[in-house]
Structure formats: structure tokens, C-alpha cells
Amino acid sequence: MNEQEARQAVHAAIGQVAGDVDLDGLSDESRLQQDLELDSLDFLRLVEAIDEATGVDIPERDYGQVATVRGLITYVASRG
């Protein structure tokens, strides 16, 4: 999956979990927990939504790599 496709999938998943986030103004540097205020259950739903949309399963040991929007896009792009 190229980066553009990964970005689209990640943005769509964030929109699904946190409907109030302005996706047009979403920075790659945004941190999921502190900036987007996703709690651990939101994060789980996000991981689930990405898995459903792209087939990329993010195991718990890799959660540290996907703490930002950029981290998530890179992870999905390299595995999708």
C-alpha cells in the first residue's frame, strides 16, 4: 500500500472513532492520545477499524510505534 492510500485509510478510521476530529486540518504530527484525546478503548477501536479496512493487524507489542498519525500511516503503508 502506498503512503497516500495508507493516509486515507488512517484518516477514515480516525473519523470513524472520533467523529469530532477535523480530518482536513489533521497534522501528521498529532499524537493520538494527547492531541486527539483517544482513550485506550478508542485506540482499540481504531486498531480494529484499520484492520477491517486494510487487513493490517497491529499487535500490542507494536502500539508504541503508532502513537502519532504519522507513525500509524508509516506502519500501515509498510505492511498493507
Binding site: 494527547q34 485506550s40 477501536r45 500490542e60
Partner: protein, 331 residues
């Protein structure tokens, strides 16, 4: 023939606005069936039948705001006595006497400021009437996190656990051991609750919080509790909670750890008598046998009502949570 009255809607809520009838005249209802959708200052709720019978007449029009205790619907085939709202360990306060009135629909901002006012007034009342005391302790999560990671490693994301599920289960079990934190203080008397209906603070994304209950949390397997937690949070955010979920919590847990706070000292929701605060799970330096290592840990606090318990029992409660977390596979 009996009138079904609007039952309690949750702490600090004296009235509700009828949004939708889910039944009509002639319908048969059983205990627990949803009768109507009611909007409160905090959230939107399904109000369920207290008894079975046949709907004879709807007594309130959609759009009306009515106080708790108002006759809502006439039901035949039930005894008068049984049609009244369930008595009272769960009744926070008497309904104010006032006439029904119609209020205009409000936007999200209006709703939010109303929610803040409602919470503000409840918290003021709590601080004025409940002599709070506060305790804090560190829970050692080495065993719990290691067990959870091992379990999650073998599972698809849909059935993975989060630390909150383990912490909630341990809290519910500890409340069974120290019943002074679980129940209601009404009319100058503490009424302990045998079931542990654990209220869980849920931050709403547009702002504000609600704290609906996971019923009988002490009896649920961790996996079941986890699924109920996910379901409860998503329904709370969608504004579709059951009335009983808002009215029934016997002890509430607030968890601000996900937002980065290390410790939270909560204000008790009257008529409850305690609030547990959970902070962020942190990697913490830890001295053991003269060596320095790290471990995952979380700060747990207890705000409790001094009329009902004291520091000794409160400390026992927090210690009990910690002990339970050392054998996560048994939770």
C-alpha cells in the same frame, strides 16, 4: 390497573423530557421492556417497564418535560402497588413538586452548558453534604500487565483487553470485601448494596462526562466485563443508555489516566459513598533487594464518605485491589 411513573434517572437528575414512545395503547409489555426514550440534562435514556401488563393509555405527550415520579402510562393487568417505581435503595431524592412543562429542543452547546450546570450543582451538593476523606496508593501492575500482554498476543484486536478491564474487575471484587464503599447514604443512614454496580466515568467527545453502571461487575468474567465496557462507552457517546445504567451505580470509578493524569481525586456522586480514581499506567523505578528496576504501576485513589467508613477501611479497600491484581488469571 396502575400508573407507571417516571423512575429515577440518575444522580442529580430530577426531570426528563419525553423524546419518543416505544409502545402504544394495546401493547403487551414485560418487565424490562423499553417503554420510552427520555432525554435528561446528561444523556438520552431508554426507560424500561417495571412490571408486565397491557398499555391502556399514554399519559405524557412527546416533547413534555416531567419530574421523576410523574405518571407516564396506565397499565392494566398489574396491581396498583406493583406499578409504582421500584423502591428505593436506588431513589436518590424525592421528586420536586412541579407542573409539567414543554421545553424547546436545544443544540449541542446548550446541552453541554446544561450538562455542566447539572454536574456543577451535583458536585457542590456533594462537597457541602459529604465529609470526604482521601487516600492514595500505588498499584503494582507487573503481574497484571504481563498476563494481559500474553493473553492479547494470542487474540484478534476485537477481543483484546485493556488494563482498565482488570482494574475495574479488581475494584468490584474489593468492594465486595469492604462493603462500606458500596451503596447509598440516604436520609442519614448508610444502605450497603450487595450487588456491585460499578459506575464508569465516560468522557463525552463533545465535552462533559457521564458515569453509567456496569451491573454486577463483581460477578463478570474479565472478558465479559471488557465487552460490556466497550459497549457501554460507545452507547454513552451515542447518547443511548438504559435508564437503570444511569440510576444504579453503587460505586463509581473515574479513570483519567488515558488523558495523561497520574492521579485523580474524585468528588463522590451522591447518594453514593465513594469514588475510586485511576491514573495513568506508568513505568516506574522500583527498588527491590538493593537493586533498581522498573515496573508498570498506577496510582489509585479513594475518595470516601467519612460518615460511612474511615481511613482504616479505606486503606483495606485499596490494599485489596492491589492484592487481587497480583493474581490476574483469577480475576
Amino acid at each position: 390497573m396502575g400508573d407507571f411513573r417516571l423512575p429515577p434517572l440518575g444522580a442529580g437528575l430530577a426531570e426528563g423530557k419525553l423524546v419518543e414512545w416505544l409502545v402504544g395503547p394495546g401493547d403487551e409489555v414485560r418487565r424490562g421492556d423499553a417503554l420510552a426514550v427520555v432525554e435528561t440534562d446528561k444523556t438520552t435514556l431508554d426507560v424500561e417497564a417495571g412490571e408486565e401488563g397491557r398499555i391502556a393509555e399514554l399519559l405524557v405527550d412527546v416533547g413534555m418535560t416531567v419530574p421523576v415520579g410523574t405518571p407516564m402510562v396506565r397499565i392494566t393487568g398489574t396491581d396498583d402497588d406493583e406499578a409504582d417505581p421500584p423502591p428505593s435503595a436506588t431513589v436518590p431524592e424525592a421528586a420536586p413538586e412541579r407542573a409539567a412543562q414543554t421545553v424547546p429542543a436545544s443544540g449541542v452547546q446548550d446541552r453541554l452548558s446544561t450538562l455542566r450546570r447539572t454536574i456543577g450543582s451535583l458536585m457542590s451538593r456533594s462537597k457541602q453534604s459529604i465529609p470526604h476523606y482521601y487516600l492514595s496508593t500505588t498499584l503494582d501492575l507487573r503481574a497484571a500487565i504481563a498476563w494481559m500482554q500474553q493473553v492479547n498476543g494470542q487474540r484478534p484486536v476485537a477481543s483484546r483487553l485493556v488494563p482498565s478491564a482488570l482494574l475495574l474487575k479488581a475494584t468490584a471484587l474489593a468492594a465486595r470485601e469492604v462493603p462500606e464503599v458500596n451503596g447509598f447514604f440516604i436520609d442519614g443512614v448508610f444502605r450497603p448494596s450487595r450487588p456491585v454496580h460499578l459506575g464508569v466515568s465516560v468522557a463525552l467527545r463533545q465535552g462533559g462526562m457521564v458515569a453509567p453502571a456496569i451491573h454486577d461487575a463483581d460477578t463478570l468474567a474479565v472478558d465479559v466485563l471488557m465487552q460490556k465496557l466497550r459497549d457501554l462507552v460507545s452507547r454513552a457517546r451515542a447518547g443511548r443508555l438504559q435508564r437503570s445504567e444511569m440510576a444504579d451505580p453503587t460505586l463509581t470509578v473515574t479513570n483519567l489516566g488515558d488523558l495523561g493524569v497520574e492521579a485523580v481525586f474524585g468528588v463522590i456522586y451522591p447518594p453514593q459513598v465513594a469514588m475510586v480514581g485511576l491514573g495513568k499506567v506508568v513505568e516506574q523505578p522500583w527498588a527491590h533487594n538493593g537493586m533498581l528496576a522498573t515496573r508498570p504501576a498506577v496510582t489509585a485513589t479513594l475518595s470516601a464518605d467519612h460518615r460511612v467508613s474511615d481511613g482504616v477501611r479505606g486503606a483495606r479497600f485499596l490494599a485489596c485491589i492491589d492484592e487481587l491484581l497480583q493474581s490476574p488469571e483469577e480475576l
